[in-house]
């Protein structure tokens, strides 16, 4: 991996790192407590005291953005962990066992695709009420077949290669081959997909929170900030612009990192120089 040749990777990773750092910082410090309501100071523009102004409760926008970014990242990352944690083993199993196992996993993933994250969120909300956990589960469920397909696709190109047969000759079990040979060879693909799903997850969390199925007050997320600002956005568009732009910048940063990684790792196992 030659990093200097992939500027988009560096820009993307750096920008992502900045936002992750700000989000983590919000755990121990924000300019103002995010729950501090001060009606007298509401609708202030950006100033020295409030870098991004204040919202309709007089809360500090910069503090809200920091805390909201943390929620958005946490939800999206947890959904990626669910998706990759279940999807990658399923994809590997499909590629190495083939036959009925593969059929079942493929049909299962088709089936999950029929449930958009929003429908899952609706069902869960109807069952247990709204909350950030809903968003995690809804987005996570949708991520499972995505990772399963990526892992299976990558593993299928590896599994037909002779070194896998050589491992069988050496007496390795299917599970051992998946762990020792398949997983390391598809890791690049999985990491690239994870950055893409992280970006999609942040967008999805925003959408779910915006319509009230995701994060609930007093916690905050970028989507929830947009929900709060919605009724005011004609009068105070700034309140909507800030969280919206933050989402856009984070998603672009993640996508740049993903594109850069794809180029740097070149996940397609190139059919090594042909000998003809």
């Amino acid at each position: 991996m030659r990093l200097p040749r992939h500027p988009s990777l560096i820009i993307g990773l750096a920008a992502t790192a900045v936002f992750v750092a700000l989000a983590l910082l919000s755990l121990v410090w924000t300019p103002y407590p995010i729950a501090q309501i001060d009606i007298a100071r509401r609708f202030q523009g950006p100033s020295g005291a409030h870098w991004l102004g204040t919202d309709f409760f007089g809360r500090d926008m910069a503090s809200l953005v920091m805390s909201g970014t943390l929620t958005s990242f946490t939800v999206a990352a947890a959904a990626v962990v669910i998706g990759a944690g279940l999807g990658v083993p399923l994809g590997l199993a499909a590629a190495i066992w083939r036959g009925p196992v593969e059929w079942l996993i493929l049909r299962g993933s088709d089936f999950v695709f029929a449930f958009p994250a929003l429908v899952v969120a609706i069902l869960i909300t109807a069952l247990i009420g709204p909350g950030a956990i809903n968003a995690v589960v809804a987005i996570g469920v949708f991520n499972i077949p995505v990772f399963a397909r990526v892992a299976r696709g990558g593993a299928l190109t590896v599994v037909s290669l002779d070194f896998v047969a050589a491992a069988r000759l050496a007496g390795l079990s299917n599970a051992a081959i998946a762990r020792r040979h398949l997983l390391p060879n598809i890791m690049g693909l999985v990491i690239v997909q994870a950055t893409i799903q992280l970006a999609l997850g942040i967008l999805a969390e925003a959408g779910l929170s915006y319509i009230g199925l995701g994060t609930q007050p007093p916690a905050t997320s970028l989507g929830l900030m947009l929900r709060d600002a919605q009724s005011l956005f004609v009068l105070h568009p700034f309140l909507s612009l800030v969280p919206g732009l933050v989402i856009i910048v984070i998603v672009i940063a993640l996508n740049l990192a993903g594109d850069g990684l794809r180029d740097a790792l070149d996940p397609r196992l190139k059919p090594v120089e042909s000998a003809a």
Binding site: W103, L161, D162, A166, A167, R168, L169, L172, A276
Partner: protein, 515 residues
Amino acid sequence: MSLVEVANLSIAFGALQAVDGIGFAIGKGERFGLVGESGSGKTLTALAIAGLLPETARREGTIRFDGAPLPHDERALARLRGKRIGMVFQEPMTALNPLMKVGRQIGEALALTKAGGDIGALLTEVGLLPTHGERYPHQLSGGQRQRVMIAMALASAPDILIADEPTSALDLVTQAKVLDLIAALCDRRGMALMFISHDLKAVARLCTRVAVLQRGRMVEAGETASVFGAPGDGYTRRLVAAARMQLPEIAHGSPGGVLVATRGLTRRFRQPGSWPLPGKPLTAVDKVDFAVRTGESIALVGPSGCGKTTLARILVGLDTANAGSIAFDGRVYHGADLSPDLRRDLSLVFQDPFSSFDPRMSVAQSLAEPLRLLDGLPPEMHRQRLAENVAAVGLEPAMLTRFPHEFSGGQRQRLAIARALMTRPKFLVLDEPVSALDLSVRAEVLALLMRLKADYGLTYLVISHDLDMVAAIADRVLVMQAGRIVEEGKPAELFTNPRHEMTRELVAARLPAVG
């Protein structure tokens, strides 16, 4: 005046000089061969003549076609190659548009060059039926697709046919037929031929004049008979020697008792349907009985798809027979049920050295993998065994820490052999052990295999389609067709006096030796 004149042609990609100042001329109706191993720049030379070089390539020197330099205008150049140059490429599987009937693809070539002609007549001329035009590429075999490619190349009645390894993706019998077809077409149409190949015998069969390329440089050129008969250059000499399969003579010891015997071994597949709907059944291995004696070297030959690889995979336990059984040293198994303590006694060397090592593992890690089968071997012995085996295949133990991509094809195949010998097996199956290697290293690897056989007292089953190699290394030959073993005998007798039709076909497809 020559039809094609190439002078001082150089092609570079960035700092990499792929073709370095070569020059040659092809006269009207002449058959010219360009010989070289992978990376010699022979394909790039052909693409340059047709103006099809990738955009990233930098070209210097002159190419004149029928006296005039190649036009600079893209459209004019495209029409020139469409009208006067026919091209056939190596890989018939991907060279045709998968979404279009082949007849229409040929029709396109006719329409583009406004050559009056008939799709049916072209298909007939290349030995297909007019009805084949109604098929999609995936409904044709590799040989049929290559014939379609040739029909397409002929559509414009070109002055020259450029054929780039047109047969190397085809099996032996088809290969000979396609070569014959090309020769016949050139004769009938008075068409010039530029034939590009690594296969000296195929070039010798078709071409009157040849040029030999090595790493972008032309090392020798001249009449085919004189270049191959009395090569002046050292590299050409090595190629010719390798093509003649000259191996050091090895004393064949008298074989011992039966080591491996199969009884009624049968493997049926469902063709790729998608589960749960079954595909059509296919019997890949059909009631095969044979025996191998200790110390023997047996060759299994047959056309592609005859079941020889499936048979090998069952023998080493990568696949399981539906019926019948194998007895190894008297112990019976059916394939994947091979018990671990028996698994260490047999091994397999794969055809493709490029895919037989995990790119993310060091060579030592890959080589040590089979040692898990030897639970009795103390761990401190592992390193010693690794070093021993690497030395036995003629490489340095210091190389063990490197990764596969740092080795050449020949070195990787040596390492693959070293891995196969890690458990000190008695029986080694070699699946086309040298066919993926460059010609000049094939002989070395074969010589190594023969030496190891003597040193370690091995028994070989060699799968190959190369009858010259088989003649050089096998004690006994089994001919396989459609899952059955149809003939058996010593190579010398079998090849001079074949009885079964399949054997006769294989022998007939064998090209005469060069020089």
